[in-house]
């Protein structure tokens, strides 16, 4: 077997073995990251690239005044995670998320979106 073929097989094997194990990463969000919506949304929903575990997967949202406006009850379904919001007025909302994927890896991040104005 040629060396190049052997290297190719090794690389394919490496990729194949981890097919279900990559980290859960933010794919997109609603409201979209950094974008503006006319009125306060009823919920924030995040989509990830991997399935999530309910435990330890959370979203917190604060309004422009720094007050928490999320319900505190994050819902997880497959690779999707949502939290309901109370009305927090206009301004910049801050979203912080933390997830545990099914392969036990954790990831976290944050972003903002604008309401009104």
């Amino acid at each position: 077997m040629q060396r190049s073929s052997l290297i190719g097989m090794i690389l394919l094997l490496l990729l194949a073995t981890g097919e279900a194990n990559a980290h859960a990463m933010l794919d997109h969000a609603e409201p979209r990251v950094g974008n503006k919506v006319a009125s306060p949304p009823r919920e924030v929903t995040l989509w990830f690239t991997q399935k999530l575990e309910q435990a330890f997967s959370t979203i917190t949202v604060t309004n422009a005044a720094g007050q928490r406006v999320d319900s505190g009850k994050t819902r997880v379904s497959g690779s999707q995670m949502s939290v309901s919001l109370r009305s927090g007025g206009t301004g910049t909302y801050h979203v912080n998320w933390h997830v545990l994927s099914v392969d036990t890896h954790t990831t976290d991040g944050n972003f903002t979106f604008q309401v009104g104005e």
Partner: protein, 333 residues
């Protein structure tokens, strides 16, 4: 370590000191993902495989020599913060003068011990220290592999600009990385004995092996960071995975420079990295900073695998201790 000094023994040609890349890593600090850069090493520690890295350029010799390299490097975490990497490079030297002979062979094997000493996710700052050892005599002498070890202690750092104020949010995807190393040859000099072809007298040539400052940095703009943490512009997925960057990879002889001189050599490397979920691909131009660094614009490309993502419960986790998963809050393939 990402910089090696090559002195080729191609007959009739004096090969200048040229940079060569062999070792890379990637790192995640809070919102920030530092990709594996091609010219210098990134500031972090991880499980990864760079295979292959290929480059092609003309050296700064007169006449120049076409140098092509293909290299691989494997890095394994021993603990969460400590990794050992092994790298090897095969070099092809082809003289521009068709009547001159070429040469090819392996360069010396290289091992790097790297420890992450500080990590601040909030400010996206990370710093590591390392020691690279180029094992003398393990490569081929006809392409210039040295017969002695070279030890290079190095400091690495990275800083993301994610903590900039809202008024500068478009600059938050920017990050800078850097490294400063000091290459210490195991032998101060090499003396060779010969016969003068004209007089028949015995000659003695002494070449002093300089201690070299290996320094460089990168500035990069992360489109994944822009999408996941600043603003989702609805751009095509391919664009959202790009990280355009410019690297500088430089070497300055500091001491024992009697025969080497003290001229700084190196390249400026503009390019782009496409970062997927399990691998990345990068390509950069190699622009020599002066005539001693090269005689044309070269190119370097690399395929790099994130073993911590490919097999997080096997080869992609530290040998001792549990893997503490990094935050990687943006989409990668």
């Amino acid at each position: 370590m990402s910089i090696r000094l090559l002195r080729a023994g191609l007959p009739g040609l004096a090969i200048a000191l040229v940079p060569l890349t062999t070792s890379h890593a990637h790192e995640i600090v809070g919102n920030r993902f530092f990709p594996a850069t091609l010219g210098i090493d990134d500031p972090g520690v991880n499980d990864e495989l760079s295979l292959p890295t290929v480059d092609s350029f003309k050296t700064g010799d007169i006449p120049p020599v076409r140098q092509r390299d293909i290299s691989g490097e494997f890095s394994k975490r021993i603990t969460e913060d400590f990794a050992i990497s092994f790298g090897s490079t095969y070099t092809f030297l082809g003289p521009i003068d068709p009547t001159a002979a070429g040469a090819n062979g392996f360069q010396n094997l290289e091992t790097t011990f790297k420890y992450r000493v500080f990590k601040d996710p909030v400010h996206e700052f990370v710093m590591s220290v390392g020691l690279s050892v180029e094992w003398g005599g393990t490569g081929s002498a006809n392409i210039g592999a040295e017969s002695f070890n070279v030890y290079t202690p190095t400091l690495y750092f990275g800083k993301g600009w994610g903590d900039l104020p809202d008024t500068l949010s478009w600059l938050r995807p920017v990050a800078i990385t850097g490294q400063v190393g000091y290459a210490i040859p195991g032998k101060r000099s090499i003396t060779t004995f010969g016969i003068d072809p004209d007089t028949g007298d015995q000659t003695i040539d002494t070449e002093f092996n300089p201690r070299v400052l290996n320094w460089g940095g990168s500035i990069q703009y992360s489109m994944p960071y822009l999408k996941s943490a600043v603003v989702d512009l609805g751009l095509p997925d391919f664009v959202n995975r790009l990280i355009p960057l410019v690297e500088a990879n430089l070497q300055t002889p500091i001491s024992n420079t009697l025969t080497s001189g003290t001229t700084t050599t190196g390249t400026i490397n503009p390019g782009v990295i496409w970062a997927g979920n399990k691998f990345q691909f990068g390509v950069e131009a190699l622009i020599p900073i002066n005539r001693q660094s090269g005689s044309n614009v070269g190119v370097i490309a690399q395929l790099h695998f994130y073993l911590d993502d490919i097999d997080p419960n096997g080869i992609g986790k530290p040998i001792f201790g549990n893997a503490v998963s990094p935050a990687r809050p943006f989409v990668r393939n």
